[in-house]
């Protein structure tokens, strides 16, 4: 996938941010990240500065920085491009984070399907070690030693969820943990751990170079900075784009070349499906938040096919730990298939929607909590398309 518009990161000078950080107190670094207002780029949108602050103040013999490069959400591929293009900025960001929270070790958890990037990443790491950007006394700072290694995922989507990722790092089945406590207090091997998205670390390096105010000036008041989006589906130019937070769906569609979209799903398989009437909404945490996936559907797409394919994904990827997600996704999938052949009564559809709401509030982790989103919003916005079939079946 190609890069489609101007990327701020291209102009960020490598390792300048790290050098700047080394001249500050760790608390000062956290202050800058807090000041930038940056929220996590992985989807949940937790304020990065606050997360680091919690980890910095947590007690622990060791602390860990984990870069979440499991990028498994269907329709998301911006982290892959980031790792292809700017691996230094990502490792630099992790190193800065390590300094800020007092960690000695960083781990990049790389999606199993991305094995082909590993070699380049390892080379980048080796070079950084040579240049003393990693290793003992980073850049001559006698108080800070830090190294990074890469851990391969094995293809489970749920391992992108931060606590399941940690379980996987510890060698167990990838399954989400109970929270509280959170990884910032009790993470990898019971130690304070921050887990951040690839993009979050890349922007960290940029913020340290350009300053918090620069970042804050971009985007909206509650969603600061630029955001990478992975745009795919029925558009002329699919690929990775950078937009300021707060850009409307319409503007995004214009840029990617699509004037006849029937629906757009923001946030990938677990995201919300918008009809044209809502294309004026803004992509940002206070309106429609996303980890970066924008999937566009043209006029000929059958929305039940869309719902079916997403639910197939979840019915396959649920870790199987908790009841609502383990069985709920299967039941929703069965329901969509019944809808497709006109065999689902309105009563039954109502039960399925209520089940979807239960899954949203009762599941143990974000996977089950967000897996019904696409289904529920398709039912909401495309009711005629769906119920139409239910009626024909009833008449015949």
């Amino acid at each position: 996938m190609t890069i489609r518009n101007n990327m701020t990161l291209s102009s960020v000078e490598k390792n300048k941010g790290l050098a700047a950080a080394m001249k500050m107190e760790p608390a000062g670094v956290i202050g800058i990240i807090r000041g930038s207002g940056m929220k996590g780029r992985g989807g949940a949108g937790f304020p990065t500065g606050a997360k680091w602050h919690f980890a910095a103040s947590a007690k622990g013999e060791r602390k860990f920085v984990v870069c979440n490069a499991d990028e498994g959400e269907p329709g998301t591929f911006k982290d892959r491009v980031l790792m292809d293009e700017w691996p230094d900025l990502i490792f630099e960001g992790m190193t800065i984070a390590g300094y800020a929270i007092g960690a000695q070790e960083g781990i990049l958890y790389l999606r199993g399907e991305y094995t082909y990037i590993r070699k380049a990443l390892e080379e980048c790491l080796a070079k950084r070690r040579e240049e003393n950007l990693l290793g003992n006394h980073v850049l001559g700072n006698s108080n800070f030693s830090f190294d990074i290694h890469i851990h391969m995922g094995c293809g489970a989507y749920v391992c992108g969820e931060e606590t399941a990722l940690i379980e996987s790092l510890e060698g167990y089945r990838g399954e989400a943990r109970n929270r509280p406590p959170f990884p910032v207090n009790t993470g990898l091997n019971g130690m304070p751990t921050i887990v951040n998205n690839v993009e979050t670390f890349a922007w960290t390096s940029a913020i340290l170079v350009n300053g918090a105010d620069w970042f804050k000036a971009i985007g909206t008041s509650k969603s600061t900075g630029p955001k990478m989006l992975s745009i795919s589906g029925d558009v002329e130019c699919p690929g990775v784009y950078e937009f300021p937070m707060g850009t409307t769906v319409n503007d995004v569609l214009d840029a990617a070349g699509c004037d006849c979209a029937k629906a757009v799903i923001i946030g990938g398989a677990s995201g919300h499906c918008l009809p044209p009437a809502e294309f004026s909404r803004a992509i940002c945490y206070e309106d429609i938040s996303t980890g970066g996936a924008v999937i566009v559907f043209g006029p000929d797409r059958d929305m039940l096919d869309v719902a079916e394919s997403f639910l197939e994904f979840f019915a396959d990827e649920s870790c199987g730990q908790c009841t609502p997600c383990r069985i709920g996704n299967v039941k929703l999938l069965e329901g969509v298939r019944m809808l497709k052949c006109g065999k689902c009564s309105t009563n039954c559809l109502r039960d399925l929607c209520a089940l979807g709401e239960t899954m949203q509030c009762a599941s143990k982790c974000g996977l089950g909590q967000s897996s019904p989103n696409a289904f529920l919003s398709i039912v909401r916005h495309f009711k005629n398309e769906i119920l139409g079939r239910a009626c024909t079946a009833a008449e015949s």
């Binding site: 007690k59 908790c322 089940l355």
Partner: protein, 644 residues
């Protein structure tokens, strides 16, 4: 009496996602304000919402939660609404560390719980009336509590999985499994055996064994602890009641039953009695009415075990300390728990020479019934059906071991669990609590208090010490321990260690074992060191301590019981189980022991007149002699933990 919960310490092998998470609570004495429904109160920091609710008598339904186990938070039945949070929270897994407001039964909560139950039922192939857990099933109770009157999301029409009957002890019917994972946590965490694990994902998740092998082919020790904690009928002990009824119905067969001490302390629970209601004498009547020809007390062979095992210990001590012969090494390990025996065969086979060669009381009894008893009563042993009532599922495996045929027949034909006997009693239309009392049958009827306490952790040790102390000092134990209660070895702590000082003044060697040791001079002033472990997780701790040369390696004698609490918490006992229930059963057992004393009856194994008669009439070359070796001792199989 606090039972040990293995997950409280750092040896826990369960994945972190299946454990209580340690909460960074500032100061243990700190409290935090909780508003829950109409109540407002201060609770200790880190208390879970579920614990706080229970304290207040607020009922929150649960399924994957169990008092003995780590928190899992997987079934989601215990959800509650926490003000300010978008999603519902699992109350069992939510430690309170800041002031919160909780509502336990809002519309949202009730709907979510109902949906979860509907979902579970959509995958649960079971018809309650053909299920052994009918009326004692947590899934069934939940369905009732939430008024389930139709299957919203469907119901399986046929079974999906084949029932695994490969094990002598445990039957697994995964069609009834609700994936609460209690069995996994029991096996890996409470017992540290680790036979069961979740395999597959999503809807394809199953509880599996290594390579999905049948349970009979993996390292399962048959302890049955998973059965006791399964909320549904997915796990059960292999049912033998049909065979036993068939024997009773056959007029040619002479059917005898021996009853172990723990079932009588537990069986009342099957008949709506409070835990810890002793049923000994009523059960005897019920057994007779069921049609058993003779009802014997396993305590007889418990006492015999003490004499044999105590003698073996004295011989080992003498060989090691005096003759510098370490062919039978110290410490000596007990061998009466078949779960423990299989555990050590799998996990520490190199330590098998430490295990006492004595058979368990069940198997000693079996061997004597088809020999001595048959001869005395002129019955053809081929026509004797010997049944053992046990609190234990592992005994079912034990009686099928090929080496357990020293009488020339299968020494024990069938092991019955407490639950199975309760079933037979119900089937016979007998109301157990209303039975008149009756005594055990002779010649094995006579027992002592020492035999009774075999049912509890520390009991074998206490019984052995009572006898050894009297053998060596020639004085009454009561001179050293008030009422012969050797308190230092009692209790529920997981691993216990005690030292006993042998006085400088020793007595003469009693007649029974005079041919084995010349005198006690070599024991003058010695310190006898003993250890006790219950639950194989604790056994593992002791074994690791021994391997590392720790204090348990200096012990002379160690009692191991596979089940938490000892036999009273065995895998064949009534369900449910909890630390409180086990403590209540223990009280019943120690009360029976004390009652022997109050009634002026024997409380020490070597005072058992029937045991003494056995040695004078049948095992004429004494304890650990040739005949007793043939009938009462056995050998073990180094199994290792690698399965092909």
């Amino acid at each position: 009496m606090k039972d040990t919960n293995a997950c409280a310490d750092d040896t826990c092998r369960a994945p972190v996602s299946q454990r209580t998470q340690v909460v960074d609570a500032p100061g243990t004495s700190a409290t935090v304000k909780l508003k829950i429904d109409d109540h407002e109160l201060n609770i200790p920091m880190g208390t879970t919402i579920l614990e706080a609710a229970r304290e207040l008598g607020i009922h929150i339904p649960t399924l994957c939660h169990h008092d003995d186990l780590c928190v899992a938070g997987v079934c989601r039945v215990c959800l509650v609404e926490v003000e300010g949070q978008n999603t519902l929270q699992a109350s069992c897994a939510y430690p309170i560390t800041q002031p919160i407001t909780v509502k336990t039964h809002t519309r949202k909560v009730r709907q979510a719980r109902r949906h979860i139950i509907d979902l579970l039922l959509s995958k649960h192939y079971g018809e309650c009336y053909s299920c052994f857990r009918n009326n004692n099933c947590e899934l069934q109770s939940l369905a009732k509590e939430y008024g389930v009157d139709f299957f919203r999301f469907g119901h399986p029409e046929k079974p999906l999985y084949e029932v695994d009957r490969s094990s002598y002890s445990v039957v697994r019917d995964m069609n009834k499994c609700v994936l609460c994972r209690r069995c996994i946590r029991t096996c890996i965490d409470l017992q540290e055996v680790g036979v069961l694990e979740a395999a597959g994902r999503s809807d394809g998740t199953t509880i599996s064994t290594y390579l999905d092998k049948p349970l009979g082919e993996v390292v399962c020790i048959n302890c049955g602890q998973c059965i006791n904690r399964c909320p549904t009928g997915a796990l059960r002990a292999k049912d033998r009641t049909d065979d036993v009824w068939a024997a009773i119905d056959n007029p040619e067969k002479h059917v005898v039953i021996q009853t172990a001490p723990s079932p009588r302390a537990g069986i009342g629970e099957e008949f709506n009695q409070e835990p810890g209601t002793p049923m000994t004498w009523k059960m005897n009547t019920a057994l007779k009415r069921c049609g058993f020809d003779k009802v014997f007390d396993t305590n007889f062979t418990a006492d015999l075990t003490i004499i044999e095992e105590g003698t073996e210990l004295i011989l080992r001590l003498y060989k090691n300390l005096v003759q510098s012969d370490s062919s039978q090494p110290l410490p000596q390990f007990t061998s009466c728990s078949p779960g423990w025996v299989k555990y050590i065969e799998h996990f520490y086979p190199e330590y098998l020479p430490h295990v006492s060669t004595c058979k368990s009381p069940q198997q000693m009894f079996g061997a004597l019934i088809k020999t001595w008893y048959a001869r005395m009563n002129n019955i053809d042993p081929a026509n004797i059906v010997s049944v053992a009532l046990m609190p234990c599922s592992a005994k079912k495996f034990e009686c099928n071991r090929p080496e357990m045929r020293d009488s020339g027949y299968k020494d024990v034909d069938n092991g019955l669990t407490t639950r199975e006997l309760a079933q037979m009693i119900r089937e016979a239309g007998i109301d157990l609590p209303e039975m008149p009392k009756s005594d055990f049958d002779n010649p094995f009827g006579t027992a002592t208090g020492s035999g009774v306490i075999f049912g509890s952790t520390g009991g074998v040790m206490e019984a052995a010490l009572r006898s050894v102390i009297e053998f060596v000092t020639g004085k009454k134990v009561e001179n050293f321990y008030d009422h012969a209660n050797i308190i230092p070895v009692r209790g529920f702590e997981g691993c216990r260690y005690a030292e006993l000082q042998i006085p400088d003044e020793v007595g003469p060697v009693p007649e029974l074992i005079q041919h084995l040791v010349p005198n006690w001079d070599w024991l003058k002033g010695a310190t006898l060191k003993v250890g006790i472990a219950h639950g194989t997780a604790n056994a593992k701790k002791v074994m690791e301590n021994i391997k590392a040369g720790g204090k348990f390696s200096e012990c002379h004698f160690i009692e191991f019981m596979a089940c938490p609490g000892g036999c009273l918490g065995g895998g064949g006992q009534p369900i449910p189980t909890s630390p409180e229930i086990r403590a209540a059963r223990a009280r019943a057992i120690y009360a029976e022991d004390a009652a022997y004393g109050d009634a002026g009856k024997a409380r020490k194994s070597h005072e058992n007149p029937a045991v003494l008669r056995l040695y004078s009439e049948f095992l004429t070359n004494g304890p650990c002699g040739h005949k007793s070796h043939h009938l009462l001792h056995t050998h073990y199989t180094a199994r290792g933990k690698y399965i092909g």
